[in-house]
Amino acid sequence: MSSLGFVMLCHTALHRAAQVARHWAERDCPVVIHVDRQVTRVRYDAFRRELADLDNVRFSNRLRCEWGTWSLVQASQTAAELLLSEFPAVRHVYLASGSCLPLRPVDELRSYLAARPMTDFIESVTIRDVDWTVGGLNDERFKLRFPFSWKRRRFLFDAYVELQRKLGYRRKLPEGITPHLGSQWWCLTRQTLTAILQDPRRSALERYFSLVWIPDESYYQTLARNYARNIESRSLTLSKFDFQGKPHVFYDDHLHLLRRSDCFVARKIWPRANRLYNTFLTDDAAINRMAEPAPGKIDRVFSRTLERRTRGRPGLYMHSRFPYPDWENGKTAAPYSVFHGFNSLFVDFESWLARRLGTVVHGNIFDPRRARFVGDVPIYAGCLSSNATMRDYNPEHFLTNLIWNTRGELQTFMFGPRDSQRIGSFMASDSNAQISVITGAWAVPLYLSNRNFAEIRTEAALLQRREIDFVNTLRHVKSRADIRIWTLAEFIEEPMENLQSILDAAEGANALRLTEAPRMADLSGFAAFLQSLKNQGMNPMTVGDFPQEGLVHRPPGDRNRPYLVN
């Protein structure tokens, strides 16, 4: 006679349950099956007939079972009692469901248990330590009454909980018990199980637990603590739950994952997973390994899916992820760097920076004529078009697409007051953006241009207005970008130092010292140009205090430092 017996709770996919029961029974493990009363008579009879040839399979009295209610505990109690009385040789009782599947030969499980004859395998943790309960009912499972079905009478369920909270109602715990929770799939020794089932206070305890929320996760888990000699607080059944508290399902493509887990039993299996059933229910390989179950790998797979479902991939906008503003977990996928005004002040700034950083450096990708991708290509990563109309149709997604499409490759681009400005507030609020600004640099190309002064004056006013708006956006209390702002006058006092500070921040502490400087535009006569703008009634204030006599070094002071807005 076998020392291991199974209790199976079944309600759907009975043909699969029958296959598994037959597997165990034919390998000399008695099986007692409870079939939900909601299963029709016809199907139940067919199920019994299917297993009629096996003399170590019994059927316990059928109860109507409902998720989250006491009926599930009752069903396991009656079935376990039947198993213990009919099969006196049974030493360990294993509670399984109809959608469980053994992953290792029964003999391995049997010898594993024989080596631990007094050990109860039941996950049992105090409510303080549990974080996997869903619905916020942790402590209250044991302190409130739950007479209404959560599945069928949700309104009454919620209302009654709310009422009890309002009234401050608290149930008294029966004496001598400390609430514990854990997976409802356990493997208990005859000693512990009979102690629970034959407890003189059983009816009083049942009265208490029958109004606890989801008692099948707490009844045995709590009482085992009172009787067991040696509890291993883990379940031998591999069973994973998702963020809604619903069990993950295993399919054919999980075969290798399941095999490598070394767990004895897994739940729940998709009833049509033919390959899993065929593989694991065929005759056992004779190798008798004593490997410990190692569900770690499967745990990692499932915790990744949890992360995917609840946080998602930062910077991704797609048809099943469209977060509200500020719920993106990252507005863009990766850090990027924006240089405002630099390519007005320096000649060939982009190619200098590209050499320096060793990465791609774009021109003004928000240029009103077309996006100036590196090399001025008409189409860039992800088939992003450089067409300005398309870009300006949704500039935010243009930028998030660019950053997403080039993950793993730092994006750097130029910006300025001549560009489409709508993207400004998005970048300012994006913590991935590093924005360096030289205000007033727009005046340099105007100075170098050969245009009528009246035109220049009008354009200067417009550019300055736009730049002030942009800088105000950057200084807004909600901006999260890494921002550095200099006036033109401040910047040209120590251009190398200032450039170095930007690159240091972008690359971390180990950045090399700059050796080659970018070539600055020729600014002789620029001061006079600014003065004539002033004389025309247009004050280029964002340029800063540009020295009249040209470039002279003033003594260093605090006002020369770039200010960080963070």
Binding site: R309, S320, C383, W404
Partner: protein
């Protein structure tokens, strides 16, 4: 949502049903095998016109996914496609000679047939050139997905339409009936899609891809919508409002996560751009039976006559669903 808004949408849904009822008089049964439909069967609904060359692979593809029955509306085909469909053992066919456009691009016909035959079934509404791809579709049948959706209390499943194109002029490689169109049209645009939210119906509005950049670069607002909700656990009261882009009741349109996570989603591979397309575009332009007075087809026609090639060096070659998942064009969500 205010009571007024909710009443208005309910009224609109009822109008959809009334319209579908009225338009149902245009349908004639050609072959009714709906008696074969068993409870729990997964159904495909589709409208077609002169698609004989596409139908063999279409049926094969969805049978392989595990679809149990097809309900097709044949809009006056003259190429034998209707007879081919009728000859299939798992296909029911209705025919009509009436206007596709007046039936709101077939939506009315299908709404009617779905109301009659789809109640309590998972239904997939796709055109003959749309091929549904979902997470794990290479190892799990579609029933694995619907069982999981059902257990998760999810009623509808979103899939973005992904326009596929060949490398080189689209007329260069002829398509033969029964073959996989994605052997030819195996390229797609991986990352140029823009999204807006439609607050009235709660659905997303997605535009982009090769059509947007080739034909609508100067009028991006007019580019075709790519958001679709093709897979729904159908109930009698449901109705598609505009193609399969949006549904009522509008809760069904919430196939996306708004609080940062990703819901599980798929892709509809769109095999529109084969050598059959030029003829189709010319014909559709003639008939004026497509959206926005065929503005789209007109744009195609003009574009196509210039020997179009959608391919760029940034185009991605289709491998499998995992590739689309990594590119962020679909998501496993919490289905593992």
């Amino acid at each position: 949502m205010g009571i007024l808004q909710s009443l208005r949408l309910r009224f609109q849904r009822q109008r959809c049903h009334a319209r579908a009822w009225r338009k149902s008089r245009e349908l004639r049964v050609a072959k009714d095998r709906t008696k074969l439909i068993k409870p729990g069967d997964i159904l495909v609904f589709s409208t077609f016109r002169n698609e004989a060359v596409r139908l063999p692979y279409f049926f094969q593809y969805y049978r392989d996914l595990g679809v149990d029955h097809f309900i097709m509306v044949d809009n006056d085909s003259t190429d034998g496609g209707g007879d081919y469909a009728i000859a299939q053992p798992d296909v029911s066919v209705w025919t009509t000679k009436h206007s596709y456009k007046a039936a709101r691009y077939g939506v009315d016909w299908l709404n009617y047939l779905q109301r009659q035959h789809a109640h309590n079934h998972w239904t997939l509404v796709v055109d003959p050139d749309e091929f549904f791809v979902f997470p794990y579709c290479d190892t799990r049948p579609i029933r694995a997905l619907t069982d999981w959706l059902e257990a998760s209390a999810i009623r509808s499943f979103g899939a973005m339409m992904l326009d596929m194109y060949p490398k080189g002029p689209i007329s260069a490689q002829p398509y033969a009936a029964g073959t996989d169109p994605f052997q030819i049209a195996c390229w797609f645009d991986p990352g140029n899609y823009v999204i807006a939210r439609n607050w009235q119906y709660g659905n997303l509005w997605i535009q982009g891809g090769p059509r947007a950049r080739s034909f609508f670069a100067d009028t991006p607002a007019k580019a075709p919508a790519l958001n679709k909700i093709p897979l729904v656990k159908w109930q009698r009261g449901y109705a598609y409002v505009s193609s399969t882009h949006m549904l009522l009741p509008r809760g069904l349109n919430r196939v996306y996560e708004e609080w940062g996570g990703e819901k599980t989603s798929g892709v509809l591979l769109h095999a529109k751009f084969l050598d059959t397309f030029s003829a189709k575009a010319a014909e559709e332009l003639e008939r004026g039976q497509h959206y926005a007075a065929s503005a789209e087809y007109k744009a195609y026609h003009d574009g196509l006559s210039k020997n179009p090639d959608f391919w760029t060096k940034w185009s991605e070659r289709y491998i499998n669903w995992r590739q689309l998942e990594i590119l962020g064009l679909m998501s496993k969500g919490n289905w593992a």
